[in-house]
């Protein structure tokens, strides 16, 4: 008998991983939550059948969503993390001792609970004393915050399920108000390759560009995400993503598997088709 996990990445493309064991399966009320164990990618979490995080390649995503913004401003003290129930983003943030507070807002408690149970590699520090966990809608949480955070990280699902509100103008605009004058917003920015993801990418970029003074996009290579080519958004009220602080990042003495200062500069260099696609105006 063979057991395979298959993600329908597009209508005509499927991605499969051979499964050792199906460890968890339940509907949380928000979404279908599953955890599998595999030879190739170790244990991994899916939401509504879509790949979220694997033990083998999670370092790429979490390095890039955390170290890029942290390197651009050494004065980041208070961070808001939205989504990120697997805990990997918080784990990387806690490696900066100067960071004082992390508010983490995850809509679905079940994601945190199963991560703590099955994915300690990412989730082990979710209950650190610097972390305040809130189980509510990120859109609601950010609505009442003004001039409070140095950094907001939006580590969301795709904009089809419960994550839809985190790709809207009202969300980005409320994030802008929640950020201090030197504030930075980094978000999971979908992918440039398959058309459905490309539309989400353009829409997010256009909306963020309308609100933030600086709005750029950077890339990483994530084997288990559709097309493997994934993007992040970097937006701020003024701090540029490539600045003098990037080179002194190594003084933190952090050992990383993916991120390094040269890659930081390089990841903002995008393929021509992506640059052109981002320039194209989005219409609903």
């Amino acid at each position: 008998m063979e057991l395979w996990y298959t993600e329908q990445q597009t209508e005509h493309v499927r991605f499969s991983i051979k499964i050792k064991q199906h460890l968890f399966s339940s509907h949380s009320g928000f979404q279908q939550v599953d955890v599998f164990d595999s030879v190739e990618f170790g244990k991994f979490l899916t939401l509504d059948g879509l790949m979220m995080v694997t033990e083998k390649d999670e370092f790429i995503y979490h390095d890039m969503i955390v170290h890029v913004p942290m390197a651009t401003n050494p004065n980041i003290k208070k961070v808001l993390v939205i989504g990120a129930g697997d805990g990997g983003t918080v784990r990387e943030l806690l490696r900066y001792p100067h960071l004082e507070t992390i508010d983490m807002v995850e809509i679905d408690k079940m994601v945190v609970d199963v991560s703590v149970e099955f994915l300690p590699q990412t989730a082990s520090q979710l209950y650190d004393e610097k972390v305040n966990l809130y189980f509510e809608d990120g859109l609601k949480f950010v609505r009442s915050k003004v001039n409070e955070y140095d950094l907001i990280i939006v580590d969301s699902t795709d904009p089809f399920g419960p994550g839809e509100g985190l790709f809207t103008k009202e969300f980005y605009s409320n994030c802008y108000r929640a950020l201090k004058a030197e504030g930075i917003l980094v978000n999971q920015h979908e992918s440039p390759y398959y058309p459905a993801f490309e539309r989400n990418m353009r829409r997010a970029h256009q909306r963020i560009s309308e609100i933030f003074e600086v709005a750029q996009v950077y890339q990483a290579h994530i084997p288990t995400y559709p097309s493997g080519h994934w993007l992040f958004g970097y937006a701020s009220k003024g701090i540029q993503p490539i600045n003098e602080h990037v080179n002194t990042w190594k003084d933190y003495g952090l050992k990383t598997k993916y991120y390094n200062p040269a890659l930081h500069i390089g990841c903002f260099a995008l393929p021509t088709y992506v640059i052109e696609s981002l320039k194209e105006e989005y219409h609903d």
Partner: protein, 479 residues
């Protein structure tokens, strides 16, 4: 699980694989697949015409009759009739079935157009009651029950009382009190319950027309009850003669009613019976939560049960979410437009001072949070200094001819300034707040001419006139 005889009958019929040499000509999509591609095989498969097995809406005795009986029971009525021409037709049937030509009916001045159309068809005389105006919110409220009762006592010859309950904004009058007095005077009570299809299914909602023992009620099941657009219910109590009502329906309704619309009424009724209570509990929670959060933002007023007890307001439909926007210096229309254009959020409507969101079974807290985040953002980004709101009073109409008489006489266009004292042959509405300024058969007074001039110079929408520039008005030709 409640029964759905009409849906079950359709399923059985489809399974028989009857060779169709009857209409509809698309033959369930066999020849041309376009309809199936667009609407899906299941829906096209059920698009049949009346036949032996499928009963006949014009004279129901089979599965439609069964479905009618179940609907009547669910809504605590003696009889229920499926309507496929919308609630507008149900309203017309109520009036035509209750009044003969020349008889009088008491109705609110801001009555729905369909009621006035029924007067044109049937020849009844309107006696208008002005609803109360909430000047702070800039909206017309329900009729004050005491005003209706005074009108009943002043016009004991009237045959019926027509009531809009609830209003679009979810405000209700003291229906029970009106029914008791009207019945004492031998008058029928007809309720336009278009926005109250859900009232029968939750004890925290206002009393339904049938529960208050009104004689007839028109219920837009498609608005808040979950059936397809254009499908509706007409409900009657035992005071109405079944055959007379059916005959009146058949004057107006199509002889080729859509089984998709009818089956959707059957299914929606069963769903309301089985899960309505739970659904409306959740909807009220969502709506009350949104009201609380919006009021906490400041600037906006999401009005609710706090208004009960004033201006004739007897109760409030907690599922409704109306938001007064003048406090952030923007008209409701402006907020409505910004929500649509900037945030991709479509509300039910926006008027001078308010927007209205319909919260229904289709909504989750995720969508509510989007609306709240967008309203907060609009306040931060667009709020401006005070915005004037001009809210007009109702003008007491002088009804000279019945609408039918005015409609059927010869008419002519006369100069605006020459129209004073003539009888109107058109209906002019002012939006907002949806007040008719002039209707068929009413004398054109100086107050009306002044109102139109004021409205034109204040960018108010004046609708329904034959000449949109108001250089001329359409009046009944004098002999």
């Amino acid at each position: 699980m409640s029964k759905t005889p009409l849906l079950d009958g359709l399923k059985r019929y489809a399974k028989k694989r009857v060779v169709a040499f009857d209409v509809p000509g698309h033959k369930q999509g066999k020849g041309d697949k376009t309809l199936i591609d667009v609407f899906g095989a299941q829906s096209i498969q059920y698009d049949f015409n009346s036949s032996f097995h499928l009963d006949n809406l014009g004279n129901p005795s089979g599965i439609i009759h069964e479905a009618h009986q179940l609907a009547a029971k669910a809504f605590n009525a003696k009889h229920a009739f499926f309507m496929v021409n919308g609630t507008s037709m149900a309203v017309m049937v109520m009036i035509l079935a209750s009044l003969k030509e020349g008889e009088s009916i008491i109705m609110p001045r801001n009555v729905h157009k369909s009621a006035l159309n029924a007067l044109i068809l049937g020849g009844a005389h309107p006696i208008y009651v002005n609803p109360q105006m909430d000047k702070q919110l800039g909206i017309s409220c329900a009729m004050d029950a005491d005003d209706v009762i005074n009108t009943i006592q002043e016009n004991p010859h009237a045959k019926a009382v027509f009531i809009n309950n609830p209003t679009y904004y979810g405000l209700v009058t003291d229906l029970q009190k009106i029914v008791d007095v009207a019945h004492h005077y031998g008058m029928k009570v007809l309720v336009d319950e278009a926005h109250g299809a859900h009232f029968s299914f939750h004890e925290d909602l206002p009393v339904s027309a049938m529960d208050a023992n009104a004689d007839m009620s028109s219920v837009s099941l498609h608005k808040t009850g979950g059936s397809l657009t254009q499908s509706s219910l007409l409900l009657c109590n035992e005071s109405m003669d079944y055959h007379h009502v059916l005959q009146t329906i058949n004057l107006l309704q199509t002889t080729s009613p859509s089984y998709l619309l009818m089956a959707s009424l059957d299914v929606a009724r069963a769903k309301l019976q089985d899960e309505g209570h739970e659904m409306f509990t959740k909807i009220m929670e969502l709506s009350n939560y949104a009201r609380h959060e919006i009021n906490a933002m400041g600037g906006y007023i999401a009005f609710g049960p706090d208004r009960i007890g004033q201006l004739g307001i007897f109760g409030f439909d907690h599922t409704k979410l109306s938001i007064h926007t003048q406090g952030i210096g923007l008209s409701g229309k402006k907020v409505y437009d910004i929500l649509r254009d900037e945030y991709g959020i479509q509300l039910e409507f926006g008027d001078v001072s308010n927007v209205l969101a319909i919260i229904s079974v289709g909504d989750r807290s995720l969508e509510i949070e989007r609306l709240l985040a967008a309203l907060q953002d609009i306040k931060e980004r667009y709020a401006q200094e005070g915005h004037s709101q001009s809210i007009q009073e109702f003008i007491q109409p002088q009804v000279q001819l019945s609408p039918k008489q005015a409609y059927s006489r010869e008419s002519e266009m006369v100069d605006f300034s020459q129209s004073y004292g003539r009888i109107s042959a058109e209906m002019i509405m002012a939006y907002p707040p949806g007040i008719p300024i002039l209707s068929y058969g009413e004398v054109i007074t100086q107050a009306i001419l002044d109102y139109i001039s004021f409205g034109l110079s204040n960018d108010q929408f004046l609708m329904g006139s034959h000449d949109p520039t108001f250089t001329t008005l359409k009046v009944v030709k004098e002999d």
